[in-house]
């Protein structure tokens, strides 16, 4: 569904992605793991052309979308959920969603604002509230809902567990299963390898802008590479306990 071939991306003169190869199959959930600054966000930004790769190719369902304008890539079926509190804080929840629903005219799909409210009942109750006043978890739901309304084939999630409470992280796992059932392809980045690998089909480990290891998620959970590149103890949490709590 989505394929990256030898992608090199720079910020100015700093060579951040040094030839990333990666694929996400149709209906597959893929985790992109790596430490701070490994290049996870940059990989997602290279796909969406918010930062344009200097060389390499990004292919979506057989179609080369490398460095096309971001809105063209969105309309081709790639939805990007950035990390952090990036909702339109001055707009209400309903306005955020309405905007998203109109973002990709011409794309047909199953998602409607009603269905988003059915999926995230908490949002329905908050529909008239300004998005800036939502909690971190509620904002995460809004960001997801917004992305789904673009009727994507591929969903890019940047650190979805960041700042979420353990209950919200569990809920997020449920939503990921839902997306998988909806046959969406998902590429998610995480520092918290345990969460990501539990819900992913496959995983990639990124270090210093290169893919160091990849494989089926179940096998990676106990892998050497995870230990070497992420400092995650075999099958357990990293020493600072950040695996289940996200960043900070």
């Amino acid at each position: 569904m989505l394929e990256l071939v030898d992608v090199h991306t720079y910020y100015g003169s700093s060579h951040v992605l040094q030839g990333v190869d990666l694929t996400v199959g149709a209906g597959e959930v893929v985790a992109l793991l790596g430490r701070n600054g490994a290049g996870k966000t940059t990989t997602l930004r290279s796909i969406t052309a918010l930062t344009r790769p200097r060389s390499g190719r990004v292919v979506l369902a057989g179609r080369d979308i490398t460095s096309r304008p971001p809105h063209v890539i969105a309309r081709a079926g790639v939805a990007y959920v950035p990390s952090g509190r990036r909702v339109f804080s001055q707009l209400t929840v309903a306005q955020n969603l309405a905007l998203a629903a109109r973002g990709c005219p011409g794309r047909a799909g199953p998602w409607t604002i009603r269905r988003v409210y059915d999926t995230f009942p908490a949002l329905a109750e908050l529909s008239a509230r300004r998005a800036g006043f939502l909690s971190g978890g509620e904002q995460q739901m809004l960001k997801l809902g917004r992305a789904l309304l673009a009727q994507p084939d591929v969903l890019l999630l940047d650190e979805p567990t960041e700042g979420l409470s353990p209950t919200m992280v569990d809920a997020l796992g449920g939503w990921l299963n839902l997306l998988r059932k909806a046959a969406l392809s998902v590429l998610l980045t995480e520092q918290s390898a345990v969460f990501a690998l539990r819900h992913a089909d496959r995983g990639y480990i990124l270090e210093k802008g290169r893919v160091r290891a990849h494989g089926p998620a179940r096998r990676m959970i106990d892998s050497r590479e995870l230990h070497d590149f992420l400092g995650v103890g075999r099958g357990g949490d990293p020493p600072d306990g950040s695996a289940t709590e996200g960043r900070r």
Binding site: P69, H71, A74, A79, P82, F88, L99, C104
Partner: protein
């Protein structure tokens, strides 16, 4: 109310009205593109010059058509400027942008000298509003009411656009987070062209509307851009309601200054700005910049 108070109030509202229209354009463009557009003053001046040329001595329908035509021509100039120059500098540093718009400002000033000379010109107010109006013993120029009405219409129009329309939500989203908007499928370059054009349109409209009240001459570009920036900063860069508040404050400061200490009148504007910024560094209704 005492007659002088009425006169002063109408005067403040009329000054503030014209300032609001031009500043609203400036603040929208800054908010959405983070672009400090010095040439905004040029658009205003061109609105005024074009009005004098197109309206000629006409005071009937021709005057009103001239307002519309001057506004449209300035909007088209704005669109061309965005397509040819501005879209190349959005990602540049502020200094580059500043130099680009300042260069435009100088070019527009020279072109204006070429087309209209350096004599000041005047426009006749439309016949229906040429005289004086008396309310409660106060007598003031009827044309002030036209300016006030135009400002109210622009204010309401922008309010409906920004609060009630999908396009408006998109504009407000672009102010806050253009990247996320773009990644959601919005054609940001097109939206920016539209916004810049709208900014130019508002500047041109303001210039055309005030033409019968002022001496239309070279130099009005620089004086208005300073005033408009002060208004936009007081209100909070990017905030249209803020521009309305800022325009009222500056209109009032100017008028009060003229009454209290005529020689210091222009300082009152800056004092007002300093007072506001000390209390609220992001301006009255400004949103502090989002940290990345």
């Amino acid at each position: 109310m005492m007659p002088t108070a009425i006169i002063d109030t109408v005067g403040v509202l009329s000054t503030a009205g014209a300032l609001f229209i031009v500043s609203a354009g400036l603040t929208l463009v800054f908010g959405a593109m983070r672009l400090i557009n010095i040439a905004h003053g040029s658009f205003y001046m061109y609105g005024a010059f074009l009005l004098t040329t197109i309206a000629g001595a006409g005071t009937g329908l021709r005057f009103w058509l001239a307002v519309v035509a001057a506004t449209i021509v300035v909007a088209l100039i704005g669109a061309a400027v965005e397509l040819v120059i501005m879209r190349r500098v959005y990602d540049s540093e502020h200094l580059t942008q500043l130099i680009a718009t300042f260069g435009l400002f100088l070019i527009f000033a020279d072109l204006a000298l070429h087309f209209w000379g350096d004599n000041s010109r005047t426009a006749n107010p439309p016949a229906a509003f040429a005289g004086q109006v008396a309310i409660g013993g106060a007598v003031f120029p009827a044309y002030d009411l036209v300016v006030i009405a135009a400002a109210v219409a622009v204010g309401l129009g922008l309010w409906v656009l920004l609060q009630r329309s999908g396009l408006g939500w998109r504009i407000r989203a672009a102010v806050e987070d253009p990247e996320t908007l773009q990644a959601g499928g919005t054609n940001l370059p097109l939206l920016r062209t539209g916004m810049f054009t709208m900014g130019a349109l508002l500047a041109g409209l303001s210039g055309a509307i005030v033409a019968p009240q002022v001496a239309v001459a070279p130099g009005m570009d620089s004086s208005i851009v300073v005033a408009a920036f002060i208004v936009a900063i007081i209100g909070g860069l990017g905030s249209v309601p803020g521009a309305a508040l800022g325009a009222l404050i500056i209109g009032a400061a100017e008028t009060i200054g003229t009454i209290v200490a005529p020689t210091w009148a222009s300082s009152f504007i800056y004092l007002a700005m300093i007072a506001v910024l000390v209390a609220r560094p992001s301006g009255l209704l400004g949103i502090p910049e989002r940290r990345q």
